[in-house]
Amino acid sequence: MTIIEEISEYLQKGRAKNVKALVQQALDEGIDAKTILDEGLLSGMMTVGARFKRNEVFVPEVLVAARAMNAGMAILEPRLVEIGNEPVGRAVIGTVKGDLHDIGKNLVAMMLKGAGFEVCDLGVDVEPEAYLAKAEEIGADIIGMSALLTTTMPGMKNLIDLLEEKGLRDKYIVMIGGAPVNESFAQEIGADYYTPDAASAAETARDAVMNRRSHAS
């Protein structure tokens, strides 16, 4: 097994210390930081995500894997900055105004990072204007909204209305999720994507950004 494969394996098992040490070792051996990122850390997280989607692993396994990835990223990040590595895309996410639930949203943030995104997590109870301001500030590709309550899910439409009003609707890929949310609701309010779980959200976000870039070029 190569050191890169080992990084991926240990990450999948959530072994943060091993991942950290191996990332350092790989850098010391002169392995390209981008390769360590893509084929070690992100590949490991994608495997965990795929298992999560197939119900082979559950939230705890994702959490420890995400922590292992963070441990590896802490070592790798300065090197990635040096080489000017660009993320797969940029995402702004948060739980909608009036809703204070964040466990699902936090999982989505972890999975997006695991798919190579730069993620700006606005937390809970987020006003439509705050999503938009942050998205404009960081040049986001994706805006992701979460809601756990039937009371708060209609608030998702407020951001879409705001984007329309400002003439910015096509600039962003709007994704929604949360326990009571479903595909027909996404269509009803005009969101681009609904995904039923965090791993699907990351996969869909990645595909959507790639797709948009390929059409733009």
């Binding site: 559950f58 939230v59 705890p60 420890v64 109870d125 039937t150 326990a179 009571p180």
Partner: protein
């Protein structure tokens, strides 16, 4: 049958005469009920079958002693509960609050051991017996509500993310917190049972919308044995006490484990997550059920007729001997039309076994 006889017979699947009505209203809807029906006690007004018996009253509860556990500090309008868990309101969130976990940043067993867990052992219990007597006098079932029992109270204290990681690492922090939760649950359950409650209502969320929250292996390693110990202990004090158990979401793989742990009634069988007919067919010989009327679907979005049909369909599925205390699965939130709540009540009153 008296109300008590009817309830007990329905739960024990030995037949029933009336369908009990039971639901939980958010403060906004409580206000609506008050304006429309002139009552501030909707449970009594709609004739709920049970009365909640108060928990042990702590002799000493000074929330200020927990303030130092929050970093960043708890919001000024934040509230601290008996366990030291912080709850921060938001102007946009009505009755909901954001939870702050006092044990979240602890790294050693020593820090945990120094934490002032609530002293239930030395709390006041005399009111419980009086409240149970009052319930009996009014022909009501006496219920001890201990939801958020072991796993959830542990995660509220520690944060879900930290506790899951503790469990995965098999560390002593998880062991200590779960043992503490069990120790205190046993003290509270004993007080309720000795006061004479008919029902103990336990609950820990272990399901998400479409999947289980953790693997069966992790559940059986950490939670199931403690739930079983709590139920065995409660039933050793009174074998007749009925154990209700709540978990949101999809939990089918856990149901055999819950049966193994000794629960009697499963709540709420969220209709958006599990098919009641299938669950009843598979497990109805070992369990009774409470809930089944979806608060993500038919209660907020259905017509009154659809609410009634859901109630009747599920009662038909359970059968004429009972085994289903039909009710909305969760608290009814502001967007649930009053007409749908009244339709649920009417459906319970109008139900004729085997005729729908």
């Amino acid at each position: 049958m008296t109300n008590r006889e009817n309830f007990l017979s329905l739960i024990r699947k030995t037949g029933y005469e009336r369908v009990p009505v039971e639901f939980n209203l958010c403060p906004y809807l409580q206000k609506q009920v008050k304006e429309r029906f002139g009552t501030s006690n909707y449970r009594e007004y709609f004739g709920f079958p049970w009365k909640y018996i108060e928990d042990i009253r702590l002799a000493d509860h000074d929330p200020k002693k927990y303030l130092s556990y929050f970093n960043p500090p708890l919001a000024e309008d934040g509230r601290i509960d008996q366990w030291g868990i912080g709850h921060e309101p938001s102007v946009n969130s009505m009755h909901m609050t954001y939870m702050r976990h006092p044990l979240e940043h602890m790294e050693t067993l020593e820090e945990l051991k120094a934490y002032p867990f609530p002293d239930y052992a030395n709390g006041h219990k005399d009111h419980q017996r009086l409240q149970v007597e009052e319930a009996r006098k009014n022909d009501l079932i006496a219920l001890g509500d201990m939801q958020v029992t072991l796993w959830e109270i542990s995660w509220y204290l520690r944060s879900m993310e930290e506790l899951f990681c503790d469990m995965m690492e098999e560390n002593e922090i998880a062991e200590f917190i779960f043992d503490k939760a069990l120790e205190m649950a046993k003290i509270r359950a004993e007080a309720f049972v000795r006061a004479g409650v008919d029902v103990l209502f336990f609950g820990d969320d272990i399901g998400m919308q479409h999947t289980i929250m953790m693997s069966e292996e992790l559940y059986c390693r950490w939670i199931k044995p403690r739930l079983k110990e709590l139920i065995d202990f409660s039933k050793s004090l009174n074998p007749e006490v009925i154990i209700f158990y709540h978990s949101c979401g999809y939990i089918e793989p856990f149901i055999p484990h819950l049966i193994g742990a000794g629960i009697d009634v499963l709540n709420p069988i969220q209709s958006e997550c599990m098919d009641f007919e299938e669950i009843c067919r598979k497990y109805g010989d070992k369990l009774s059920f409470h809930g089944t009327i979806g608060t993500q679907s038919v209660m907020p979005h259905g017509t009154p007729r659809e609410v009634k049909e859901a109630v009747w369909r599920n009662l038909d599925i359970a059968g004429e001997k009972g085994g289903l205390m039909v009710a909305p699965t969760h608290m009814l939130e502001p967007e649930v039309p009053m007409e749908n709540i009244l339709a649920y009540v009417e459906a319970c009153h109008e139900y004729k076994k085997g005729k729908c």
